[in-house]
Amino acid sequence: MESVVDIEKRIEQARRTFDELRSELGRMIVGHAELIEQVFIALVCGGHCLLEGVPGLGKTLLVRSLGEILNLSFSRVQFTPDLMPADITGTNMLTDDPSGRKIFEFQPGPVFAHIVLADEINRATPKTQSALLEAMQEQSVTVGGKMHRLENPFMVLATQNPIEMEGTYPLPEAQVDRFFFKLLMQFPSHDELGRIADLTTAAPPSALREVLDGSGILQMRQWVREVPLADVVKDYAVRLVLSTHPNSEANHGGASLAQRFVLYGSSPRGLQSLILAAKARALLAGRPNVSFDDIRSMLLPSLRHRLILNLEADAEGIGAEKILDELVGQVLEVV
């Protein structure tokens, strides 16, 4: 039976771990503090991230550095149109056993790692993309009628380029919905660019220190789920998710952007992500409970990829971010 002191210690430990991770990553990654926090939150929540940003912003570096810091196995798959599902999941190879008989032996693909970087995921065919789906959702792959469990913790960090759309296969909504967060990688500022230049054109920094291992992450996942959530805060999150639906009663009089530009609102999975992420944020902030601010902070990464907008929104250049921003201003904390 845990005592209050034990809980205090573990919250303090979670906060300290996160601080260490942030400072260690800061040696390799310039800026992107918010993005790093969100990736770590997704990790301790057991979710996957879809990173969107133009090439050269350090997406791959971030994921690889994360793997080093966490002392987890890391693999990278460059998605191309000719990539086959078996190239990701692995395949049964015909080999000789010690007695000389021919047998099929499963050769695991790159998905069998703790952290998988699916680079430019939208360049692969839907069939290949779907192969990753089962792995993301079930944390297992089935090859030749036999299911193979993946590593635990397991996290997919997929990247996609928002500009170059030619020769790409946009991810279907069902697949996008399986990502815990969709994170946008912003272009660095003037100061950050200068620091990037210093960091990458001088002597390489020393190797990153390991701050957390797989078991530590699994433990933190357990702690996140124990963070209490007040009903009123939960109700706020529910109303926010409901308000993303164009026909929801929570929408205000039909004049909101959601009413005009959203075809389908967030799925219940969006609410799960939102609440779990808010709990993780509270834990990493050293708090034993979830606040309204936690919910608001996690709203964009949790829901931005779950809103399906209509053509009118496309024509008028309205993004999910703008709609969600408006909803935050409209939905009351307490009704």
Binding site: V232, R287, V290, S291
Partner: protein, 474 residues
């Protein structure tokens, strides 16, 4: 159960009790405001109450009426408690620790994490006093109650409610109300014209009417009292007639004109050059005095004016005439009042305006609107002053319906007053002297009222006098 949880529960209970109390006060205030506003809107309603005192309780009655709705609509709910806790979190920057702790504290079993929430919330709420952190805040509705209440009290104090009832209801006024209204009008007239006997009579009548209303006496009893009062007034009028030497044929208007001219004549006598130590008034001033038609007529009648009279003799003459004119007006007003009371005694339904003392001379003024120069005889109007019988002035006889004509009819002088019509193109048939005299007379009447500033009265008089002498001043 932990100490932190107990302590928190006590603090939350204190906060919620305080918030409930504020809500209750706010509800009561808003309710009071609405009740007073409704009382103002429904102002005529208390006029129908059987007991007069109940009108002062109107807002209270309305408040009792609307209270169930208000208390139901603004009842304390679970959301209100939650809102209070969230407000506490916001105010003290607790990141929803208080709200979470409050919810967790209502559960039967708590985990170690819950206990940590209690502990952190309690640490941050140490020394928290709900009254200090969340003092009473008055909204605009609360500030509106006072002025509304004052407005309502003022409306009731000035009996606006009753007058509204009287205006709106088609039903005739009660006898006491009629008498009360008549008495007030009588007093107003008596005060403005300096009629002492009429003022006394008006005051007595008002007392009588008020007593009847307060004691809720029967109308018959009031009629008896009115009959007695009518006799009293008749006696007073007769005794006044014995003393006054004015002819009964003098019209009301001519008497009023005379009073105005007397006032003007007195002012003329007060001019410095009117009494320069000479025993006799200069001929010029005597001529001006003579240009006042009513005064000249009275002087001619008595053959009292002449160049040999000195200022003191003229003054005493003017005083005597003024006294006589006032006495005659007083007597006629008493007679009017007596006739009104007699009618009330008989029917109680007679139209007020027939005997309204304020309506005297109205016919003359109305006639002036008709256009053209015309003369009208007033001396034989029923209920007015006695005079020569004039069929043109009597009510027209209509077959079938009995026409009762009141008033003293008999022989006597008839007076006539010339009226100007609207200006029409062409040559004027009125002489300048006559026009100027008429205008001056009107001006004198206006000067007697309080509408003209005191400082300007002298200038106005000089102006009109100069008009008559043909030397307009600029």
């Amino acid at each position: 159960m932990s100490a932190a949880r107990d302590s928190l529960q006590a603090q939350f209970a204190g906060l919620l009790a305080w918030e409930r109390r504020k809500r209750l006060e706010q509800t009561a205030l808003v309710m009071a405001g609405v009740a007073v506003a409704l009382a103002i809107v429904l102002l005529p309603l208390p006029g129908y109450f059987p007991v007069i005192g109940l009108r002062w309780l109107m807002p209270l009655l309305l408040m009792l009426l609307i209270a169930p709705w208000f208390f139901h609509r603004w009842r304390w709910r679970q959301q209100d408690a939650t809102r209070s806790l969230v407000e506490l979190d916001k105010t003290l920057n607790l990141a929803e620790r208080a709200t979470t702790a409050w919810e967790l504290s209502s559960r039967e079993t708590t985990s170690a994490v819950d206990e940590l929430v209690f502990k952190q919330a309690q640490e941050r709420l140490h020394g928290f006093a709900a009254r200090r952190v969340f003092p009473r805040q008055w909204h605009w509705q609360s500030y509106g109650v006072g002025p509304l209440l004052l407005l309502w009290l003022a409306l009731l104090w000035f009996e606006v409610d009753r007058s509204l009832v009287e205006q709106s209801s088609g039903a005739p006024l009660s006898l006491a109300h009629k008498v009360g209204e008549f008495s007030r009008e009588l007093q107003e007239k008596a005060k403005s014209e300096g009629l002492r006997e009429s003022l006394k009579a008006g005051q007595e009548l008002e007392k009588m009417a008020r007593k009847n209303l307060e004691q809720k006496s029967s109308e018959e009893q009031l009629k008896q009292e009115l009959a007695g009062m009518a006799k009293k007034l008749e006696a007073a009028a007769k005794s006044g007639a014995d003393k006054d030497s004015f002819s009964a044929g003098e019209s009301q208007q001519s008497l009023q004109d005379l009073k105005a001219e007397l006032e003007a004549a007195r002012d003329l006598l007060n001019f410095p050059d009117a009494a320069k130590g000479t025993r006799e008034l200069p001929q010029q001033w005597m001529d001006r005095l003579a240009s006042l038609p009513q005064l000249k007529r009275q002087m001619d009648k008595g053959a009292q004016a002449g160049p040999g009279l000195g200022p003191n003799e003229i003054k005493s003459l003017l005083d005597r005439l003024d006294q006589q004119a006032t006495g005659e007006l007083d007597r006629r007003t008493l007679l009017d009042a007596q006739q009104f009371l007699e009618q009330m005694t008989k029917s109680g339904q007679a139209r007020r305006n027939e005997n309204d003392p304020r309506m005297d001379g109205r016919g003359e003024q109305d006639g002036a609107d008709d256009g053209g120069v015309k003369e009208k005889n007033h001396s034989n109007l029923p209920g007015k002053e006695p005079g020569k019988k004039d069929h043109g002035g009597l009510p027209e006889f209509r077959g079938g319906a009995e026409t009762q004509v009141k008033g003293l009819l008999g022989d006597g002088d008839s007076s006539a007053v010339g009226f100007k019509g609207k200006p029409v193109p062409g040559k004027s048939i009125l002489g300048q002297q006559e026009v100027a005299a008429n205008y001056r007379r009107q001006a004198e009447q206006e000067l007697n009222s309080e509408r003209v500033p005191e400082a300007l009265k002298e200038t106005i008089r000089n102006y009109f006098l100069s008009l008559e002498s043909g030397e307009p001043k600029k």
